[in-house]
């Protein structure tokens, strides 16, 4: 049992146990993965007969020249740059505050986490109401009259507000886990060495949190690249005023579901995937270079 060698019989048995997972995974993950790469090269494709008459790079060339796609990439990048640093810094700050208090700490955590368990679509509808130009709560509180959802200058900001608001809780919990993982001995040692609270923070807390911060940042970048639900609900099935909130994912949805241009949509999906692979690759490179064992497995 301990030193058993795999045999034909044991392999068959294992396959039987794995079969349910493998069948679903092959059908709905592995095959479509291959298929979407292939499809992005279909240039003449009939969906109804599933016939491919020609293949080539035309879909990518189309994207390269398509102003809508340029807009989508630009909007996505602006959105990512708007959301990610804000979310990471705010959630780190809140996690640090939560870590410093004893009383009511879990009560606050519960509240900050609420948006995560809330349907994105549902809460985006609430935000839609809050952003209402004449009767919305936000303008009433700020004393302004901004048309958050119909003015292309503000609609992306509105989207960023909703996404930051929703993303905080999840990242706070991750940061708290990271903070808990810092051995108290480091602080005791730093105190003995005469480090002030600020010095302890910069010399112990921040370096020890570096790996989890990278992890959270990468995760946040990837999920921001894929933003869709919030847009759909916030702008009632539109990509914002004058496509001001057209992101890459929304572009894919429009090409695919609204316009039925499957190969172009698949190609835009591949471009999105390449962005994600590059970011993941960079993170991987970072971890390799600093040879950091991420927590849970820290040696």
């Amino acid at each position: 049992m301990i030193n058993a060698k795999p045999t034909l019989k044991s392999t068959l048995k294992a396959l039987l146990y794995l079969a349910p997972l493998l069948i679903v995974t092959i059908t709905f993950t592995i095959w479509p993965l291959i298929s979407s790469f292939l499809m992005s090269f279909y240039t003449k494709y009939n969906y109804f007969t599933n016939q491919v008459k020609a293949m080539g790079g035309a879909n990518f060339a189309y994207l390269w020249q398509n102003p809508d796609f340029h807009l989508a990439v630009r909007n996505t990048l602006v959105f990512v740059i708007g959301v990610v640093p804000l979310t990471v810094i705010l959630s780190l700050g809140i996690a640090l505050l939560l870590n410093q208090i004893n009383w009511l700490s879990s009560f606050f955590r519960t509240i900050y986490f609420l948006p995560f368990v809330t349907s994105t679509v549902a809460i985006s509808l609430v935000w839609n109401w809050i952003f209402h130009q004449d009767n919305g709560l936000l303008n009433a509180l700020l004393g302004g009259s901004v048309d958050w959802l119909n003015d292309p200058h503000y609609s992306l900001t509105a989207l960023i507000i909703v996404c930051v608001w929703r993303g905080l809780g999840f990242n706070i919990v991750l940061f708290l886990a990271g903070l808990n993982n810092i051995d108290n001995h480091y602080y005791q040692a730093a105190k003995l060495d005469g480090a002030s609270a600020w010095q302890q923070f910069t010399n112990v807390t921040l370096p020890m949190l570096a790996p989890i911060t990278v992890l959270i940042t990468v995760n946040e970048i990837i999920s921001s690249f894929k933003v869709f639900d919030q847009i759909y609900a916030l702008f009632h099935g539109q990509a914002g005023p004058a496509n001001a909130d057209l992101t890459m994912m929304y572009y894919l949805y429009q090409k695919f579901y609204v316009e039925g241009q499957y190969p172009v949509a698949a190609a835009s999906g591949v471009v999105l995937f390449i962005f994600i692979v590059i970011i993941t690759g960079l993170a991987f490179w970072y971890f390799q270079r600093h040879s950091i064992k991420i927590w849970g497995r820290r040696s």
Partner: protein
């Protein structure tokens, strides 16, 4: 049931053989101890007998039946693991009854038998508790009761006492002996502590580096070690060893020249070193300096320096005010080993 291992070979890969040609035999109803330092392969033998490991070559027999290829769950073996391996989500009752449940015993019967076993190991008041609510000793008892539940033909105990503190250890050690006698089940237990083995085992197998050094009773291992390893491993304090060449001038007893030429190492027990005259002494008037004397409970230990060798004696009376100048060595507990570390001569075997 008798257990026989014949020519067992086990290797994790081609270069790391754990056992090569390992053979031994356990009598029906015997309490056998596998004794050896860590890494000697004791637990591996248990895993082989249990069927958790499969040998690369050789046979394992239960009575006359070859079980080498038999699946672990069909061997009818009770095993107590070093970490007890209690099922965390089951209470004590369900833990003990689990093997019976797997054997499709009716629920009422299961409960009744589990209660009986709990009584045998004195945990009848803990039946509704969960493993994480129990002390180490209590968990150990549960593990023994569970191992006995399906009335195994063989009981295997892997370091059953090593996680317990001293007092509990002694108590449970005697308990194991008692249970084994009541049930009469052939029992093999693994330990690195000679005291456990010497106290309760009918027979002891001393292992080192995957090789059986000697199979015998505890008394015999002490009195007649087959080789230097056994002589050094059994007995506390550790036996004194000195190169024979240093001792030749002081030997007063006649030792055949053929033996002396082969002998490389001399070893003698701490109790055979005394400053009193000894009848039939093996060595007399070894010049020594006394470096240290401590009282350890009933015994006093005296450290002596002889040339470049440190000796320990337990036979020098305490509160000895005068610095000891010379010592004598009694023949009993004196051994000579050749350059293969095999014992070739015993001091008191030739009177």
């Amino acid at each position: 049931m008798q257990v026989t291992l014949k020519g067992i070979q086990l290797a994790y890969d081609r270069h790391n053989k754990i056992f090569d040609q390992l053979s031994f035999h356990v009598q029906d109803g015997e309490l056998l101890a596998l004794l050896g330092p860590s890494g000697s392969g004791k637990s591996t033998i248990l895993n082989l007998i249990a069927g958790l490991l499969t040998p690369n070559a050789g046979q394992i027999l239960f009575d006359e039946t070859d079980v080498t290829k038999l699946d672990a769950r069909n061997r009818n073996i009770g095993m107590v693991f070093q970490d007890y391996a209690l099922y965390p989500q089951l209470n004590v009752m369900d833990n003990i009854a689990f093997p019976l449940k797997m054997a499709h015993v009716k629920k009422a019967t299961r409960r009744e038998q589990a209660q009986k076993l709990a009584k045998l190991v004195h945990i009848e008041s803990l039946l509704t508790k969960f493993p994480n609510e129990l002390s180490g000793g209590q968990q150990q008892r549960v593990a023994i009761a569970r191992a006995l539940a399906k009335k195994p033909k063989i009981l295997l105990l892997d370091e059953p006492l090593s996680n317990l503190d001293a007092g509990l250890r002694v108590e449970l050690r005697d308990e194991i002996r008692h249970i084994q006698q009541v049930t009469g089940v052939t029992t093999i237990f693994v330990t690195h502590d000679q005291n456990d083995a010497l106290r309760i085992a009918d027979k002891i197998i001393v292992l080192a580096n995957g090789v059986i050094q000697q199979v015998s009773t505890g008394a015999d291992l002490y009195r007649h070690p087959r080789n230097l390893f056994v002589a050094q491993f059994i007995g506390s304090p550790k036996i004194n060893t000195i190169p024979v060449a240093n001792l030749i001038p002081y030997i007063s007893k006649e030792i055949p020249a053929s033996i002396l030429t082969q002998a490389v190492t001399a070893a003698f027990r701490s109790e055979s070193i005394t400053n009193d005259p000894v009848a039939n002494a093996l060595m007399t008037n070894l010049p020594v300096t006394m470096t240290h004397q401590v009282q350890i409970g009933r015994d006093s230990q005296t450290q002596l320096q002889f040339e470049n060798n440190r000796l320990i004696s337990t036979a020098i009376s305490d509160n000895y005010t005068q610095k000891i100048q010379t010592i004598n060595v009694a023949p009993r507990g004196f051994f000579l080993f050749n350059d293969d570390d095999v014992c070739i001569w015993e001091g008191d075997a030739h009177d």
